[in-house]
Amino acid sequence: MLSMRTVLYCSLIIFLAGCTRRNVETITIKGSDTEVNLVLQLAEAYMETNPAISVSVTGGGSGVGIAGLLNGRLDVANSSREINNHELVLASERNIAIEHFIFAADALAIICHPSVPIDSMSLDDLGKIFSGEIQNWQQLGGAAGIISLYGRQSNSGTFMYFRERVLGKDYAPGIKQMNGNAQILEAVKADPNAIGYISLGYLTDETGALRHGIKVIKLTTEPGKIAISPLDRAAIKAGLYPLTRPLFHFSNGTASDIIRAFYDFEKSPAGQKIIAQNGYLPPSEAGLAFNSVK
């Protein structure tokens, strides 16, 4: 008898779940690995106050998100890079009007294994390291050791951003292409000659302290200037750290009301608090002015 009753209750629950499901509106978000944890937390907080809306967030890389938007499978694409001309052409061919919304800012941190005897470098040297012109730590005044490069795959917005901003040419072919920020972090911890790039959100733990087993390299834009650490929030806000970048949402056409409501939540103090807790920064003034969704 008990089992009969259980079955009845179960089917009732499933039936009711089916009922409520139909009334829930869904926003499907996909893309940037840098943004995935952050947007997931924003979505969870948002759904707590708005049970009628379901926001699903997955990663895969900025390129995957934008491709998904162009192929009509997504509502919002997360991206840590701007949409490129080639993608804009594809979008107009498919009658997709891309709208962009910058909800936060990130700084790309250069991390090394703690045994690397270098604390700061110029942006120029950084580019030479990742393009393979500098191959040994000795060339930068460290102990001899073949530099071991860790970067992302070509589906990553960070891969593109870093190449555009720092290299201006192709990466060295020997660079190890990792699947995400977390993998780069783990690999750099384990490799005494390692250098890699990760986003601010992966640099610190839940309490805001720097993660163990890595060293953050300070960067200078011109020789003779003071080297800036990405952990120095005041300097980043003042625009002194060279690898600061906006984090984007892209949507098709004018954002619908439910997407707009989610964007509004991200802009609100509650949303910005979550962004700060995750180690990211509020969008810059220029970023806010650039937004096509206000």
Partner: protein
Amino acid sequence: MNQRLFWDKFFEKVFKGTAWVAVLTLVGIFLMLLINSARAFETISFAEFFSGTAWNPAAYGEATYGIGAMLFSTLLVTIGAMLIAVPLGIGAAAFLSEVASPRTRNILKPAIEMLAAVPSVVIGFLGIVLVAPALAKIFDLPHGLNALNGSILLAIMALPTLISVTEDAIHAVPQHYKEASYALGANRWETLLRVTLPSCTSGILVAIMLGLGRALGETMTVLMATGNATAMPNGFFDSVRTITATVAIEMGEVPFGTPHYFSLFACALVLFLITLLVNIAAERVAAGYRRKGQ
């Protein structure tokens, strides 16, 4: 009676249809790969594709589509895996069928077969957290994300098939071969080495080919464990990127209808042809083996 005949005929047709669906699917896959690959060669020359060693479709400057380094990496990792798995597999199979007590065999055999059920992501994860650091330590390397790591993991994945099929082949050797050998005064070791194994060579060859096919087509494990550097490797201690990993990484982000998109089909076609050849060879050997058995 009439009705029984009807159902007889009916199910004969159903299963005949099922068998043909498998054949048609294979032909369909082949045609799809062929047609899409052909479009790749509208823009990419054969010479560049097969003799080039630089694979960089998302290049900063001009895109390059050379499959050479990836093909070599794929073969390197696969052959490495076979060098590890074949001696171990044959040894284990010989032990199971000739030496082990029935009790031991009853424990070991299901355990080995269970190994085949471990998802490849799990094995890839073990490669990152367990095998890579161990390799780095043993061989004094900066990191263990290299071809050897991939080979070891693929060997583990190929072992269940290899052991199972080899053991069946050894089992199929007629008892009187062995009895004759014992009667001539040979001991168990000599009998195994000189009589049993040589008389099931073709069965062992089939096992090796099946294991080889498994290792060639594996994606997730090598993607996670080999570092994915597109440079031409100099040996087992270099990071490599296999063809499977390239298709898996790049398929998600590539816009439809571009040369990059079609080139991935060409990569898949090359892989398909290699595995097809291996399987046809295995089938040939197996056919000879069956004839000999009769």
